[in-house]
Amino acid sequence: MLTKRIIACLDVDNGRVVKGVRFENLRDAGDPAELAKAHSESGADEIVLLDISAAHERRTTLLDTVHRTAKQLFIPFTVGGGIRTLEEASAVFSAGADKISINSAALADPTVITRIAERFGSQAVVVAIDAKRCNGMRWEAFTHGGRNISGRDALEWAQESESRGAGEILLTSMDRDGTASGFDCKLTRMIADAVRIPVIASGGAGGAQHFVDVFREGHADAALAASIFHYGFNQIADLKQEIGSQGIPVRWPC
């Protein structure tokens, strides 16, 4: 049976993993290459590295960080944050990424999804959608780390992304992000049921039950978390055993 994936996300600023709430009060949480390897050994099914550096710092350090991290990582490795063009994506792939994640650039010019998918395959293109609830059962897609409103409905944008060649959707609930109060199962289910490609739920992970809920009620194919996996507590191995014991199919033992 296809298992539900547990994905560890590393937020990286200028070559170091940082941890904070909603990208504020950032604290140093370690070296990306070391943490990625540790998460992989602890049972992570995939690693996402999200570069949150300011634009002027990015070019000098990101490719080196990706290269160092990829060198000792033998599970799928996604890199996102500020990738705007096919050329930038190509450089990240050459450095060792298996997939790239794009958000703002795809909303600004949706054809970039197709261009990257035609060169590297749809399986290499993850479209990240930062969704915020507007009213009732409507969510809107935001850009630039949640700072700017795009004017696009999250559901419609997910479907358009799929039709343009995206291989997966990384769906972050801005309302839940950093709150540790659980994933947004309603949002996740709405999108997951409306597309044929896998949907990765993100934002709100605080404990094992939240993962069970987003797989069972949210119909997510994978779930991503960042801060709960740092600093050694809440090891992924423990999490997988817990949700596995509740009947969710997971890769365990690895």
């Binding site: 994936r5 990829a70 290499a124 690895c254």
Partner: protein, 198 residues
């Protein structure tokens, strides 16, 4: 020396990286002359089956066929494995190598496609590639088309029905999943391929 064939499809870095990690010498090439000198050949591949038509136009197809005829171990990964069959519904006009009977087909509409993530294999009894592994390892897949079960299937997998996840006959090996992305299990498989002496 492992010769990894570059035909412009997808990203070969991760395959080379895995062999580097194992301490195996390897080269990435698109030159048929290099293939003619290869001791072992790996044909990776992600993306569309039609991209394999490049192999025919570039002369690589003939070089691979001759190497296989000499008994050189050959490993096809993902689309590289599908190419070892007659063809694929994904690109009916593009012929495969036809080393194995059958045609690759799309997943049924009852399941999400592509099939992405970690799924469990059921290993057959005799496989040199899976030597030393437990009978139901987890491996990483990402594909929209799948190969049919046939007599040379050494591992099957369940997703919208059972399909061939690995095949093996004499010096021919194919895996639908990505060993270079399948953690320790995948590295063990690649290490077994490196150790072959057929």
């Amino acid at each position: 020396m492992i010769t990894i064939i570059d035909y412009g499809a997808g990203n070969l870095v991760s395959v080379k990286k895995a062999f580097d990690w194992l301490g195996e010498k390897c080269e990435i090439t698109s030159n048929p002359d290099s293939v003619a000198r290869a001791a072992k050949i790996v044909l990776p591949g992600v993306g569309h089956f039609a991209s394999t038509s490049t192999l025919t136009h570039s002369g690589l197809r003939d070089a691979i066929n001759q190497a296989i005829g000499r008994g050189i171990p050959f490993l096809g990964i993902c689309v590289g494995m599908q190419w070892m069959f007659h063809g694929s519904q994904e690109a009916p006009e593009t012929p495969g190598l036809a080393l194995f009977q059958g045609e690759c087909e799309r997943f049924p509409a009852s399941v999400k496609s592509p099939h992405v993530g970690w799924n469990q294999l059921q290993l057959g009894e005799t496989s040199r590639l899976f030597h030393g592994m437990l009978p139901s390892p987890f491996v990483y897949f990402t594909h929209s088309f799948r190969a049919p079960l046939m007599e040379n299937t050494t591992a099957c997998c369940e997703y919208g029905g059972t399909f061939a996840a690995a095949i093996e006959r004499e010096n021919l090996f194919g895996v639908q999943f990505h060993p270079e992305k399948s953690g320790e299990i995948g590295l063990k498989l690649l290490s077994n391929f490196c150790a072959l002496t057929c």
